[in-house]
Amino acid sequence: MTPFGYARAADRADALARVGSGARVLGGGTNLVDLLRQNVEQASELVDVSRLEGAIRESDDGGLLIDASVRNATLAAHPLVRHRYPVLARALLAGASAQIRNMATVGGNILQRTRCMYFYDVEGARCNKRQPGAGCDAMDGFNRYHAVLGASDQCIATHPSDMCVALAMLDAVIHLSGPDGERSVPLTDFHVLPNATPQTETVLKPGELITGVELPPPSAAVTHSEYRKVRDRSSYAFALISVAGGLAIAEGRITEARIALGGVAAKPWRATRAETALVCVAPTPDAFLAAIREELVGARPLSGNGFKIGLAERTVVAVLGALAGARA
């Protein structure tokens, strides 16, 4: 680990000034401290934003505004989240452990980096994300956890966040602040696919901070939503596949379907094709399966993760089936 300085941001302006002069942002540190220690990342200065005001409040239109420094555990336990956005509470609770959720911030969770073991293995493995042009040892290696959608010949890593899968499904918007002022980006446009530049993971610009996340008012399918995570052990493990799903049904037909997938790509994957295929149809297992198959038409299995395609299909059918059953 290279030596670095540490300062606690006095307020947002102070944080922005420090980031502008080259400091790395520190949230809970659950990812960054680890990456610095493993020498995957380096920093000369850290600015701690985890003690900035962390509020969760209703927006004027009935949505929710969440400050970037809110801890994952606090967000999951918040009454408005549990009642109006159950998919988000469940996704947060599916992530990591109670200790890590107490530390992790919303901003850090969005910007956490892949858990690809070759990305972590500085001494022993080639990784295009860590060192552009070096090659990718995951391609012919242990790629059970890697992507089946949107991967490139440069990188097959997945984004590991559970929370972000729910945020993608909820049409969440990320608020950013930087040297050129403030802007907002839909979460589904925030993370980018690897293409030829896997070192670029998001549209965040140098000097920018995530200041918060905004959720639109809950639609019927959001109020009636769930998150299911399939993993190699039943707790404290990253997702093989995860599904955020929501359904609204009226007179035996689906009026609104929302689906996002985790564990399949370098970004949380909003399954818009599957959603479109479900509108106005009867909520049957066959309809669910046909819809998710349309989404997965472009899926490409690697040597070790072909099972993910069938697993994604079955998990979507199970989640939507449970939601339809509970409503009926």
Binding site: Y6, G29, L36, R37, A98, Q99, I100, S235
Partner: protein, 169 residues
């Protein structure tokens, strides 16, 4: 500023790279808190930071500046009388080698408070309902951040159940 460790004011380290775990063990000689993986994967280093359970291996000591840290050393009374959960661990064989035990115990104490507040877990069926019903499945899920490589989990869960019943009574 300073860190309050088990009621004592101590200075943060000069080097910002030092973790809270190393600060406790190497500089303050509080070796009750254990280092298992040093990367957030085992829970052996769990301590209470302002009452919340956190991993001291992924916390920089500087991040704890101005906060209250409680470690396993603070649990027994001055007289040496053990905390109810420490007694329950002994009674139920909640340990073999004992390496994970300080982390398990700190973690479970904070877990009891989370349950009391009504915080849900991944296995809580109805997230919108009131305080979750305490079942073994709830305890196992809530304690999944603490691994035990000796496999003493059954005793650990029983000991925690005991403590929860005792404090509820």
């Amino acid at each position: 500023m300073s860190i309050r460790v088990n009621g004592m004011e101590v200075l943060p380290p000069d080097d910002a790279r030092v973790s809270l775990l190393d600060h406790l063990r190497e500089h303050l000689h509080l070796s009750g808190t254990k280092k298992g993986c040093d990367q957030g994967a085992c829970g052996a280093c769990t301590v209470l930071l302002d009452g919340n359970r956190v991993l001291s291996c992924l916390t920089l000591a500087a991040q704890a500046d101005g906060s209250n840290v409680q470690t396993i050393e603070a649990l027994a009374a001055e007289s040496g009388a053990l905390h109810a959960l420490q007694r329950a661990f002994i009674e139920h064989d909640g340990l073999q080698c004992g390496y994970c035990t300080p982390g398990q115990i700190c973690s479970a104490i904070a877990m009891a408070e989370e349950l009391r507040r009504g915080d849900p877990s991944y296995v809580t069926l109805d997230l919108a309902a009131g305080p979750p019903v305490v079942t073994r499945a709830e305890i196992r899920e809530r304690m999944s951040g603490n691994l035990c490589r000796c496999g003493a989990h059954n005793g650990i869960v029983e000991a925690i159940e005991d403590m929860l019943v005792e404090t509820a009574a």
